[in-house]
């Protein structure tokens, strides 16, 4: 027994606080299929996480109106992980203990990596609409992970091929925002350029500090390196700051970036400086009838255009629920088999999943900002 008086004082304090905060465990309602949704629903990356909830809500509403799946209604459990790994583990544990059958999420690669260990142990399939880190599927450590978006190396490959073959630029500066998404993509791009057989050279490889007050120093360095084009890995705030300061310094350097920048907010924030910027993004599906219907539903339900990764989340929700329908049960292996065998119609086209978890039929296309809007570059 712990000796001495002051230890006793502590133990009384512990008891007071734990009783006050311990709330009773949640009982399981087994009569519904639980679709967990995990991602950043608050904080500065909320704009990437919230559209996924809306996408799932639309899909679930439609399915429940048609009588749900296997005769059960589908219920949504949305949990916020603020795109932080340590919060993601708590969120994942909560979804597992609330009995989620499948999980749509997480949004950021770091949070996804932290949570996947927990889903793997509890044999729960997780499908992310936006985590593009290649190691999630290629490392083979996460058999329960699927995604409805291509991985960074595919994006980097497309960006480098476009720069060297279509734009025929010789000197490329590769920048990133020191984040795991941005830096991962930039490293792939650097690798592809270096072994592109001398078609182009990496004249600069550096990270910028997100949220810095001023980028003129790095812009000067780009100018000094004589780069014809800049490949930037990261999100739109940093990209627009860099392109603005480049244009203000009358620099003509081309900017090529990733799907973190292929986002309408980029055009609105960068304004006329965004003109001519290239960015990779999911294949253009605006002609796909399902995509048009999904976007219409969103406008009708929420009165605004859908946000980032909306269509990917919509497709992921459909794929998950369709797999449960086809598998006839919420059993892990049955769903996994269904995902790998059954084609499913989604706004991203007819997709199926390869054995590592990447979606077949989902690829990237190159877009350019022309007259204030992204247009696909054939």
């Amino acid at each position: 027994m712990i000796k001495g008086i002051s230890k006793m004082r502590l133990i009384t304090a512990l008891i007071v606080s734990i009783i006050f905060f311990g709330s009773t465990g949640l009982g399981f309602a087994a009569d519904t299929i639980k679709l967990g949704i995990a991602g950043a629903h608050s904080g500065d990356l909320a704009s990437y996480g919230i559209p996924s909830i809306k996408a799932a809500e639309l899909v679930v509403k439609e399915i429940n109106e048609k009588g749900g799946i296997l005769g059960k209604k589908v219920e949504i459990l949305a949990e916020d992980d603020v795109c932080k790994p340590e919060v993601a583990t708590n969120t994942a544990t909560k979804l597992v203990s609330e009995g989620a059958n499948v999980v749509l999420g997480h949004i950021c690669s770091g949070a996804t990596k932290a949570a996947l260990g927990i889903y793997k142990d509890s044999k729960i399939i997780a499908m992310s609409p936006s985590a593009t880190n290649p190691a999630l599927t290629q490392s083979g450590e996460y058999p329960n992970f699927y995604r409805t978006i291509a991985s960074d190396d595919a994006q980097a490959r497309l960006e480098v091929d476009f720069a060297t073959n279509v734009l025929k630029v010789k000197k490329i500066a590769v920048l990133h925002d020191k984040g795991d998404y941005g830096k991962g993509l930039a490293e792939f791009a650097k690798g592809f350029i270096e072994n592109s057989g001398g078609k182009a050279k990496v004249v600069l490889f550096e990270g910028v500090t997100p949220g810095a007050v001023d980028y003129s120093a790095i812009v000067q360095k780009i100018k000094k390196s004589g780069a014809d084009a800049v490949i930037f890995g990261g999100y739109h705030p940093e990209a627009s700051k860099i392109v603005m300061q480049m244009r203000k310094k009358r620099m003509k350097t081309i900017l090529i970036s990733d799907d973190g920048v292929k986002d309408d907010t980029f055009i609105k924030v960068a304004g006329e400086y965004a003109e001519g910027v290239y960015a990779t993004g999911p294949k253009d599906v605006s002609s796909n009838p399902l995509a048009i219907k999904a976007t219409e539903d969103h406008k009708k339900a929420y009165g605004s255009d859908p946000g980032a990764f909306f269509l990917n989340a919509y497709a992921a929700a459909q794929a998950l629920l369709n797999a449960i329908q086809k598998a006839g049960s919420t059993d892990y292996d049955a769903i996994a088999k269904a995902l790998k065998t059954e084609y499913v119609d989604t706004p991203l086209g007819k997709i199926k999943f390869d054995d590592r978890g990447d979606a077949i039929g989902v690829g990237f296309a190159m877009y350019q900002v022309r007259k204030g809007a992204y247009a696909e570059v054939k």
Partner: protein, 410 residues
């Protein structure tokens, strides 16, 4: 409290707040589609809200002023909580009840609750560590997260390269923490107060930035994944049982920490720290080696942070630099100051409140941090000494000097 002046003051306050929050609360501008949205309802809410809030605020402030005068005349102003702990009959049953509760906790609550409680207990360890540096020795350390990161990455990297298990990594993490504590302690020996704070803040950021940029060493922003959880005699456990197992490990470490910190506080070293906090020049003039005492404080504080880092890495199985930002240092500092500087019981309750509260405020998720900020201000204005203000040890001497034995009673 005559009514009319209060009414007038509240009315002025409400007008003031309506003017103050007018642009940000009422007008929401969508510069993208260039439409301006006028939300007049917000103005009404602000007006009414501030009317009553200002009244409450003034009432509490006046009570605080009266309270202060009342306090100074009766010397023994120990707070309710401390008096509660003083009388004997209450302590023993409360302690027994608590021990039982902590043991059965993981079985009566869901894994989610246990995993939050583990996070809270990790912060108890961090709080107790920082308490030595800030609470006892009075050295304002804003870069404490650096040692936390050292512990976490020690386990992550050593496991990745040499396959070190949890139980071997724990002491290594603690030792590395202590080493970094001394390394970062040396340069700041001569600094005082806010300069010490800003240099330690600098160290915290330097270590995080090095972890973020030095890919070859620390895998940079992508971090280190699947760090093994402590296995139960070689047997890998399912998530539920692993969480329960980690829970008991953390409870064990916390109890050891509490015992050791408690003993340190009432020892010769502890008194030297408090003397250092009170008056550096007098403490040196009384024969205390200032440099060694400061380094002791830094090293010991950092040891607990190192151990907490190892436990954190084991619990989340994934670490990256983004979870060791300056906000962690600030949260731990708030725990120490809000809990009650220098008092073990205060720091423990501070950690439980500050970590569990935001989790249980999850219901109104967006307002979580707003309320948290308001609570910080409210607590500091009305209880600057923290929840449990540090009650010094008291010795009773009954008989005459020569033969009595001081009976410890605190």
């Amino acid at each position: 409290m005559n009514l009319f002046p209060e009414l007038r003051k509240s009315f002025i306050a409400s007008l003031w707040f309506m003017f103050l929050t007018f642009p940000i609360m009422v007008i929401r501008v969508n510069t993208i589609e260039n439409i301006v949205e006028w939300r007049w309802m917000n103005l009404v809410f602000v007006g009414i809200g501030s009317f009553f809030l200002s009244w409450l605020w003034r009432y509490l402030l006046s009570r605080k002023e009266m309270g202060v005068n009342k306090k100074t005349d009766d010397q023994d102003r120990t707070s309710l909580v401390s008096r509660l702990m003083k009388n004997k009959q209450l302590i023993i049953p409360a302690a027994a009840l608590l021990a039982i509760f902590t043991i059965i906790f993981p079985h009566i609550f869901s894994t989610y609750q246990t995993s939050i409680m583990i996070t809270a207990l990790i912060y108890v360890m961090l709080g107790l560590g920082l308490n030595i540096v800030v609470g006892l020795a009075g050295l304002l350390d804003l870069g404490y997260v650096a040692f936390y990161a050292v512990g976490a990455y020690a386990y992550g990297l050593l496991n990745y390269h040499f396959g070190l298990g949890f139980w071997t990594a724990l002491p290594v993490g603690a030792a590395l923490g202590a080493l970094f504590g001394i390394l970062l302690g040396f340069p700041v020996l001569r600094l005082r107060g806010d300069y010490l704070a800003i240099v330690t803040l600098g160290f915290g950021e330097i270590i995080r930035l090095i972890l973020e940029n030095w890919n070859e060493f620390s895998f940079g922003p992508s971090g280190i994944a699947n760090i093994p959880r402590p296995s139960f005699f070689g047997m890998d456990l399912s998530i539920q049982w692993a969480t329960v197992y980690i829970y008991y490990i953390v409870i064990g470490i916390c109890c050891i920490t509490i015992v050791i910190v408690g003993r340190l506080q009432d020892s010769r070293i502890g008194r030297a720290w408090i003397a250092l906090r009170e008056d550096e020049i007098a403490c040196q003039a009384m024969g205390i080696d200032k440099a060694r005492t400061k380094l002791n404080a830094f090293a010991l504080g950092a040891t607990w942070a190192g151990m907490a880092g190892v436990v954190f890495a084991a619990k989340t199985t994934f670490i990256n630099p983004a979870s060791f930002t300056i906000w962690e240092s600030i949260i731990i500092l708030c725990i120490v100051v809000l809990g009650g500087m220098g008092s073990v019981v205060g720091v423990v309750s501070g950690a439980l409140v500050l970590i569990l509260l935001p989790e249980y405020l999850r219901a109104f998720s967006e307002y979580r941090l707003l309320i948290f900020g308001a609570i910080l201000i409210f607590m500091m204005v009305f209880r600057p000494g923290g929840i449990v203000s540090d009650v010094r040890r008291v010795y009773r001497f009954e008989s005459s000097a020569m033969d009595d034995k001081p009976q410890e009673y605190s």
